[in-house]
């Protein structure tokens, strides 16, 4: 059974339909790259998956269990629980500026410690969260910067903290929205290296990207979106080597690539 199954997602803003029936599924451990020109709806799709937008129609299932169906309505608590299946890494990092790198990674875990716990248990739990957060920072190569504030970190370091922060809630699927487009080439490389390492550890990921090299070499599958529909979906060799759709061909032969 597919880990993630998305069916027929539609989303309009005002009168314009931005997503016009998106459906795909992915297996555990898959890395899917989503490419497409500006305005094709890539960000909107990720935002729908993370419940930051509510699709007008369609459904989302995890491991065969439906976690979203536009026909139904959900309470805030249900949405919070369901969205924890996903992690999200933003283009602009969105770290909390008043907290250190370590605290950024710890905060959400800390807030999920149940209130009823006795004090000594709470402290033990906090210590466990700290250890875990440090090892997550270690995994993104930033254990020595744990005490630094976001403003003291480079863009690439900030994005790596953001990745550690997203991993902290144990998502089944980690989503990236152009994680490197705010970074210069060198910093881009260090972030992409972290994503590659996550792949070797078996992390399931959806990466919206303009880095065609990365999509070609790291992704198991490439989805090309155009005007709110999936125009092409296949192995990187197929999508880049012998695209079927004329729109994909036109996109891939843009002069700036």
């Amino acid at each position: 059974m597919a880990l993630l199954d998305i069916k027929n997602i539609h989303k309009s803003f005002g009168g314009t339909e931005v997503l016009r029936g998106i459906g795909f599924s992915m297996e555990k451990g898959d890395v899917v790259a989503i490419i497409g020109s500006s305005g094709s709806g890539k960000t909107t799709l990720l935002r729908c998956i993370n419940f930051l937008e509510t699709p007008d129609s369609g459904s989302i299932s995890i491991d065969g269990g439906e976690i979203f169906n536009a026909e139904k309505s959900y309470t805030d608590a249900e949405i919070r629980k369901n969205r924890l299946n996903f992690g999200m890494v933003f283009q602009s990092f969105n770290l909390f500026p008043q907290y250190t790198a370590l605290k950024n990674v710890m905060l959400a875990q800390q807030l999920s410690i149940s209130r009823g716990l006795p004090r000594s248990e709470k402290e033990k739990e906090l210590e466990r969260i700290r250890e875990r957060s440090l090892s997550l920072l270690n995994a993104v190569g930033l254990e020595d910067r744990a005490g630094a504030y976001p403003c003291e970190l480079s863009g690439g370091q900030q994005q790596r903290v953001a990745i550690a922060r997203a991993l902290a809630m144990n998502p089944a699927i980690l989503c990236f929205d152009e994680p490197t487009s705010a970074l210069d080439p060198e910093l881009t490389r260090e972030v992409l290296r972290v994503i590659k390492e996550l792949k070797t550890k078996g992390m399931t990921m959806i990466v919206v990207t303009h880095e065609m090299e990365f999509a070609r070499n790291v992704a198991d599958r490439v989805i090309f979106m155009s005007d709110g529909v999936i125009e092409e979906d296949g192995a990187p060799e197929a999508v880049f080597g012998s695209p079927i759709s004329p729109k994909t061909r036109a996109f891939l032969s843009r002069p700036e690539l």
Binding site: F51, D76, R83, P97, P150, C151, A166
Partner: protein, 219 residues
Amino acid sequence: MFQEVIIALSEGFLKTLQIFFITLVGALPLGLIIAFGSMSRFRPIRSVMRAIVWVIRGTPLMLQLIAIFYGPGMLLGYNIWGTGNFGRNAAVAVAFIINYACYFSEIYRGGIESIPRGQYEAGQVLGMTRPQIFFKVVLAQVVKRIVPPMSNEIITLVKDTALARIILVYEVIWAGQTFIKKAGVIWPLFFTAIYYLLFNGLLTILFWYIEKKLDYYRG
């Protein structure tokens, strides 16, 4: 003579301080309620709050003082504030608290609305609740952003307390003024400036200290 002036002015300044602190204690939280009201998703609440803020910020505090002190008597036919000093002080407190709450609410609102949406969304995707996002993510950033405009407004408040004398509350300026009639000298009136300067100097240092405390991060 000098000693007599100092005693009179100090007594007046105590009243000035009293108006100042009572206004802060009332207006700081009330301003937050008005700020939330003026950002409410429920349109009638939002409109009413914004109308109130518009009227209060759009008219002189002096008029508001007079309206609040004399208005009820004129409309209801009897003076709700009574005849004693307590009533006058209460009227001053009400007028100042409402006035400053409106100014503070706009500063709060500006601060809250200046926090990028990405901060809320980052909290949301980590499974935080709305209150958690407000108190653990947004609030500290708002506080940092509003300290400079708040310090401005609070220093203005120190000087605005002089308006209380319009409804016969004996604050420091009035204390200075009495010496013109009583002793034919004007210097005590000007001497009140020293009180204001010292107190505002103290506040300036306090705000400078707070700003420095919050300076450990940018953004």
